[in-house]
Symmetry: C2
């Protein structure tokens, strides 16, 4: 299996090393061969090649079986023109590879739940999968420009039926494999694109008679995530709503540093990255939490390589590390032991072997 | 003072009666004259006149000093074509009167804080004012239509500089009168309109040297509202982001049924409405919580009539009612006394006189 590594900015390099070490362990334990090729993206690529997404990186990704990404971004690039900023690398690779389905599982870890901003009675039992459309909508629609001699600005929310159909189908499929309850989020009382979205969901629901569907307006969804997170199973929504709601949801369990994500194409090729950012303030100090990156590697094994047993093993090993009381400085486990990136990686490896 | 009453749907009528009773008490206690004219809007107007926003209602509002609105909406109108739905009445009146500045104060009430989904340590001390742009952006931009023979849909996020300037100015003014800390929320790493927004905020900040400004991406803001609500003072943002974030914020204190809002034009004319919806399931039962509507009337006195003392008096009377242990069925005060809409209104009146 050809795996492209895009460490990117900030703590990206350190946590990528961790994921690589875990994958090497899996390879030798289960008799697989993973070949790694590292490429530049984001601010790192801008420094090296003057662009956040070099041609070379796109080409390598296009012939890969899967891609692991660390993180991109740093405040120091804020003054660059938009097309040179680190985020453009991420948006560009999503679009170039048509990674239209972003999956973000959000589930707490027992030893960390005390850090949730929510009361125990509210957060307990919540286990959500957010399925976000990732290559359409306001993020890519045209025109997006200044108008009227710079006196106005315009962005365009465009969706083709086929773009909505494939992500909605993915939402139903995910719900079918989980608790068979799908919440479709839109703003159908205001947006034309949301009305089309809702029609497509209603039509598609006939193909999945076992899945219960609810429609929820995005403002109501933003409320319910806080008041009743455990009432959700799978949420499917368009790009911008998914961005906002998945970030809101990511802090509910109190351990943002633990959350992985997958961005998939229809043929199963995918890009896997932690939900957290590049944390430039702690980069290079050896204290970054590698677990979200490691869990992203597990998602890769599960979704792109169908290595279910191997993915399960990594997830169990991560859970075991926390149960043993090990945590990195972004977390806290009462009476546990604080350790750094490398030690945490070693603990997970020990639990794996 | 000419006040237009738009009770609308569901519990709108009952809570409007409550607000009227309070205003009559204020009139006689402080020697004012309020004249009320009632008009139809939303589903109620659709039933009576076949449209959610009759010409007659618009005209009356245009010559009013202020408008009180109960609530609009009911699931039973979901199958109507978009231009006949209740929400269209609300969107229409906002646009017709150019009520571009939506103010939503979010602050908990001590006797109700136990109902917050957040831990006490997280929610304590939070006191936020959200200033939302209300007549631009994706809600009104054109084109908004089906394309390519119905195979695609498009909505348009359009902002003219002047629309952004006036709401940003309002944000700075509000911050100046409060704790002098303004958080401007955008998605400048993706949207052209957000980049213009950010430029305007930076420029405008020179006119308010005492106000500290932070820029926050909308996804990060959705996180921070949950993890650190007490780190905010005033938030200023565009229409759709404001819709989502203000609803998210509205549940943090655990008493959505208590939150008022103001939608203002530049000359001070305004429309005042509770943040909660029309709650058709409990309509007509006499158990609706009138306090958000009453507090909306207080906001009217403060913002449209400069009757500061009178507004303060209402707010104190509402606080006193809760401190005395009175609550409606949507709330809960341990060892308190559950009462209905009318009794609650009477308790507030007693506290006023
Ligand atoms: C970096 C940014 C463009 C990106 C997005 O908004 O999609 C990020 O917030 C995410 O959610 O992956
Ligand atoms: C009813 C709806 C159109 C409206 C909006 O989205 O503005 C409501 O959610 C609000 O926030 O007042």
């Amino acid at each position: 299996k050809q795996i492209i590594l895009l460490p990117g900015d900030g703590i990206g390099k350190e946590i990528m090393e961790a994921a690589k070490a875990i994958l090497n362990t899996i390879a030798s334990e289960y008799g697989h061969r993973f070949t790694f090729h590292q490429h530049a993206i984001g601010g790192d690529a801008y420094e090296q090649c003057g662009t956040p997404l070099p041609e070379d990186t796109v080409k390598a990704c296009q012939s890969a079986d899967a891609i692991l990404l660390g993180a991109v971004g740093d405040k120091k690039y804020d003054s660059l023109p938009p097309h040179l900023r680190p985020e453009k690398g991420l948006l560009g690779i999503r679009k170039a590879l048509e990674l239209y389905a972003n999956l973000r599982p959000i589930k707490g870890f027992t030893p960390l739940m005390h850090a949730s901003p929510l009361k125990e009675s509210v957060i307990n039992g919540s286990d959500i999968l957010i399925v976000r459309e990732l290559t359409g909508g306001l993020y890519f629609g045209k025109p997006r420009e200044r108008r009227e001699n710079g006196l106005a600005a315009i962005d365009t929310l465009y969706y083709h039926r086929s773009e909505i159909e494939r992500i909605v189908e993915r939402g139903f499929q995910s719900a079918q494999l989980r608790n068979k309850y799908l919440t479709s989020v839109d703003k159908a009382n205001v947006l034309e694109s949301s009305r089309m979205w809702r029609e497509i969901v209603n039509k598609k629901s006939k193909e999945f008679p076992e899945v219960t569907v609810d429609h929820l307006l995005v403002d109501a969804a933003a409320m319910k995530l806080v008041t009743n997170p455990n009432s959700f199973d799978v949420i499917v929504t368009e790009n911008l709503f998914g961005d906002i709601l998945s970030d809101e949801a990511s802090v509910l369990t109190g351990s943002l540093g633990m959350l992985p994500s997958a961005s998939l194409r229809s043929d199963g090729v995918g890009l896997y990255e932690p939900v957290h950012g590049s944390a430039p303030d702690i980069a290079g100090k050896g204290i970054a939490n590698p677990l979200a990156m490691i869990l992203s590697a597990a998602m890769m094994l599960r979704h792109s390589f169908q290595m279910i047993e191997e993915a399960d093993a990594i997830e169990l090993a991560v859970n075991a590390a926390l149960d043993q009381g090990y945590y990195t400085p972004d977390l806290d486990i009462p009476n546990g032991k604080q350790i750094g990136t490398k030690e945490m990686t070693e603990v997970v490896i020990e639990n794996l072997t």
